[in-house]
Symmetry: C2
Subunit: 276 residues, 2 copies
């Protein structure tokens, strides 16, 4: 079924601000997925459709949903992908470099004209096989998003706050650590923010939750007026809300059905759930 960082992040962002997608699919890519992007008003000028097979991943989760194991990765047309930004994308002010090889993230960044806020996500694979590229990339971005185990892997620090300190030294002024059902932590110019996860008593499929989180966050930031620092906490909570919907269905099944009022309700609920 449809998945991938770009799909999850772009759909999540679309609830708050029009999104532009950069990516590649094969000519086997079902038209109904293109229609799905269109329904979310996602700009597809940056979507390459080329001869060959679309990237395919499958995996399984442990019973508590906190660890996943890759069963199969078929790169397909991804193997020779070079992201090329349409002219109309280059002045985008908010850039999310979702999970892909850091050299390609960097290649996207070099095509941008003075973006206002650039955030990169990553995964353990790149820490293992492309660390020099990743270190080069994160010197040039504003925000770096990773999960707690990746932060540990990158810094060798067991304590997440000690890890954050080391990651700041690698470049980014904003560091966001995702902790799954335990929420997330922001470290930025105004200090830490402890961002809650929305309480779910049933998680159907957490795949894409991290992408939904950061996509929702960037979408909300792009819409908001005022400084990044004035808005990033709320943006994270909105991201957290979209991620919670993502977990309630396989792939994008639940996320694509979310109504704006449901997002607002969960946002308000999270306010109440954390108020003391």
């Amino acid at each position: 079924m449809l998945g991938g960082s770009a799909s999850h992040a772009a759909v999540a962002a679309s609830f708050f601000n029009p999104a532009r997608l950069v990516g590649v699919v094969g000519n086997d890519f079902p038209k109904r997925y293109v229609d799905l992007y269109r329904r979310h008003k996602i700009d597809l000028e940056g979507l390459q459709i080329v001869p060959g097979k679309t990237f395919h991943w499958s995996g399984e989760y442990e019973i508590n949903m906190n660890h996943r194991r890759t069963l199969l990765t078929e790169l397909g047309v991804f193997e020779t992908f070079t992201p090329k930004l349409p002219e109309s994308y280059r002045e985008s002010r908010f850039v999310l470099l979702a999970n892909i090889a850091p050299s390609l993230q960097h290649h996207v960044l070099t095509q941008m004209k003075r973006p206002r806020f650039v955030v990169a996500d990553t995964m353990d694979l790149w820490l293992n096989i492309a660390l020099p590229d990743l270190l080069k990339l994160i010197k040039q971005i504003d925000g770096f998003v990773l999960n707690d185990s990746e932060a540990h892997q990158l810094t060798k620090e067991d304590n997440v706050f000690a890890a954050i300190r080391k990651i700041h030294r690698l470049g980014p002024r904003y560091v966001i650590i995702k902790k799954g059902s335990h929420g997330s932590i922001l470290s930025g110019p105004r200090g830490f923010f402890i961002c809650p996860a929305y309480p779910l008593s049933r998680v159907v499929d957490p795949t894409g939750a991290g992408d939904s989180f950061v996509g929702g966050m960037m979408g909300w930031l792009a819409r908001a007026r005022g400084s990044i620092d004035d808005n990033i906490r709320k943006a994270m909570v909105y991201g957290s809300v979209v991620a919670s919907f993502c977990c309630e269905g396989f792939g994008l099944l639940r996320t694509t059905r979310v109504r704006p009022v449901e997002i607002e309700n969960r946002f308000r609920e999270l306010r109440k759930l954390t108020n003391f």
Copy 2:
């Protein structure tokens, strides 16, 4: 060194309200520890000092401080301990049944005259060897405090919110799940509360942090005016603050040196850290 649920919880409570301690030590118990209790204005009428050796525990933590392993447990005078409440204790309104065999927790409870709010803590050991006693006890209490792995063990639910629902069915109106550095979750008549942990970039020794949390919570509740529901969220955050100090030193070394202004500062900081 000095430790144990009663010590940690009573010292934590003492920052907010005078505490009464029930417990047993051997005649090897150093006088300086009695003095320490006294400095914290802890009522020791319920402390039995009997011939024999004081209970002794030692353990070690994994590098990330999230799992501990018992190295040695010497019951000593604990083996034949029956908690007997002094007459002056029996009208206490707030009762914390800290971690001990559930049959003894129950025995304490039967000696109380109409307490207002009774909370019990436990540990995995009692789930393993005294589950029927524990199930009997928790029918009769207001609040049950346990950590996430114990909640999983008790209910066989991997999802913490699903586990909470099952625990409510066992009796308690208030269920509090401790998640270590991820904070804690309250489920009560007013729904969920997501309680933050204070960010620490260095944890020296988490032993007693759970007891400090619930002790601080009960101490603050005992001092507060108004309903439990009006106060329990703040009480948990104060408990969380005391627990954070506990983690910064071995045993009670840091906790006993805490000044009230330091507690207030961290409480206010947690407000800022969670505000959006």
